[in-house]
């Protein structure tokens, strides 16, 4: 629940910060640009709700683990280039909850300024010397640029977030960067959708989430200062339109987190004690209602 609260907090905070400033920017631009903003064809909303069965196992997040019914909600609203997005769907690694401003649009490209919820907060509890010890890490929010390219049924997405709301122990120019490639194949009335992605996290970002300073080390937990790492994800889904509002979908997602993340004592011990897998895996079968 903390993660979703953080996401909502991030979006509300970002909307409060970005929307007035972006609106001011729009007001100050020349009339030609204003016309371009006015006719931004991404303006509008989209919303879909999916209900189905999902099986999720994760080495990092205990909250993610589940086997049963799950509700997914995808929502997006854009007004004069200003947008807010919330997606907790199976492709959520690609689609960080975000607010932002679409400042450039061509036939094939969209460039956005975004503030995004990047990583959730985590909590690690264990016992030592008869006492319960709790190690907790906050969620992170980053600010930067997103580029989305589209050619037919192929897409490319690049995200670079150099600025973080939190004080990361980092000297990297960019603390979070991702590259996603996707393609859709039509097989009669079915759609086969494939997506692969790589997510770079700086040493500072991983350290903020999973590092252990010497002051927290004890007989159980050892000190850990990670370097940067890259997480890889492959996602595939098969969709069938039952009606113009209802979409049947079966999907599978696999994520391999970097060694720098998995080697953290917070993760290594949790995996050992709770029998968590090395890879994050998700499988689901859903019915989507698309508004």
């Amino acid at each position: 629940m903390n993660y979703y609260q953080n996401i909502i907090n991030t979006i509300l905070l970002s909307a409060t910060i970005i929307f007035p400033s972006a609106y001011s920017f729009a007001q100050e631009t020349p009339s030609k640009d204003q016309q371009q903003v006015d006719k931004n064809d991404r303006d509008g909303y989209s919303l879909s709700i999916a209900l189905g069965y999902a099986n999720i196992e994760s080495p990092l997040y205990d909250e993610e683990k589940m086997d049963g019914w799950k509700l997914f909600i995808d929502g997006r609203y854009q007004w004069k280039g200003l947008f807010i997005e919330l997606a907790n769907d199976p492709a959520r690694d690609k689609n960080l909850p975000a607010a932002g401003y679409n400042f450039y649009t061509t036939e094939h490209w969209n460039l956005d300024f975004i503030v995004a919820a990047v990583t959730p907060g985590t909590e690690f509890n264990y016992e030592i010397g008869g006492e319960t010890k709790k190690i907790s890490r906050g969620s992170t929010r980053g600010t930067g640029i997103r580029a989305q390219g589209s050619w037919g049924n192929s897409i490319l997405q690049l995200v670079a977030l150099p600025y973080f709301h939190e004080d990361l122990p980092s000297d990297s120019a960019v603390d979070y960067a991702s590259l996603w490639l996707g393609h859709r194949w039509q097989i009669r009335n079915w759609s086969l959708n494939g997506l692969v992605g790589a997510v770079y996290k700086s040493s500072g970002l991983i350290d903020y989430q999973f590092g252990v300073p010497a002051s927290e080390a004890d007989g159980t937990l050892w000190s850990y200062e990670p370097s940067s790492g890259i997480d890889y994800t492959a996602y595939i889904d098969l969709s069938y339109p039952i009606s113009k509002n209802i979409l049947f979908q079966i999907y599978s997602r696999h994520t391999q987190y970097s060694d720098q993340t998995l080697d953290s004592p917070l993760i290594e011990l949790a995996r050992r004690w709770e029998n968590r897998p090395e890879k994050e895996q998700e499988f689901g079968i859903l019915l989507n209602y698309v508004f």
């Binding site: 959708n193 113009k244 989507n288």
Partner: protein, 133 residues
């Protein structure tokens, strides 16, 4: 595990009954034409839609009739008949009309449409390029 089987059962049930059934014609209509399905749905606007279309027609009186599909494609003719059935595999890129023509007068006596629909509109909304943005 029980949940999984319940869900699969619900899915199968929906799939079994999802295909559209043409409205039954009103009693007393002189000529009736029913199509199944009435609508073909694709993932995204611009996709081709694949359908097995079944057309059933009937009249009160015997006559000679031909069934056509747009654009001006003659599918089958019947002589001295008051009912007929025609089935074909269709690849649609737009809505398709089926119509019955009386041979002696070339009059179109009944016309019905298989509509084409999509879940996602063709826009620059990149996230819709594949499902789930």
């Amino acid at each position: 595990m029980k949940n999984k089987y319940q869900f699969i059962f619900v899915m199968l049930f929906i799939f079994t009954f999802q295909s559209g059934f043409a409205d039954e014609p009103k009693n007393g209509d002189p000529v009736r034409l029913s199509l199944k399905p009435k609508e073909c749905v694709v993932f995204k606007e611009g996709d081709k839609c694949y359908a097995k279309v079944s057309a059933n027609w009937s009249t009160k009186e015997l006559g000679s009739f031909c069934l056509f599909r747009t654009p001006d494609t003659k599918l089958e003719c019947w002589n001295g008949s008051n009912e007929g059935r025609y089935t074909e595999d269709l690849v649609m890129s737009e809505a398709v009309d089926y119509y019955l023509v009386r041979v002696d007068s070339s009059e179109v006596v009944v016309r019905k449409t298989v509509e084409l629909s999509w879940v996602y509109k063709k826009t620059t909304r990149l996230e819709h390029t594949w499902r789930l943005f």
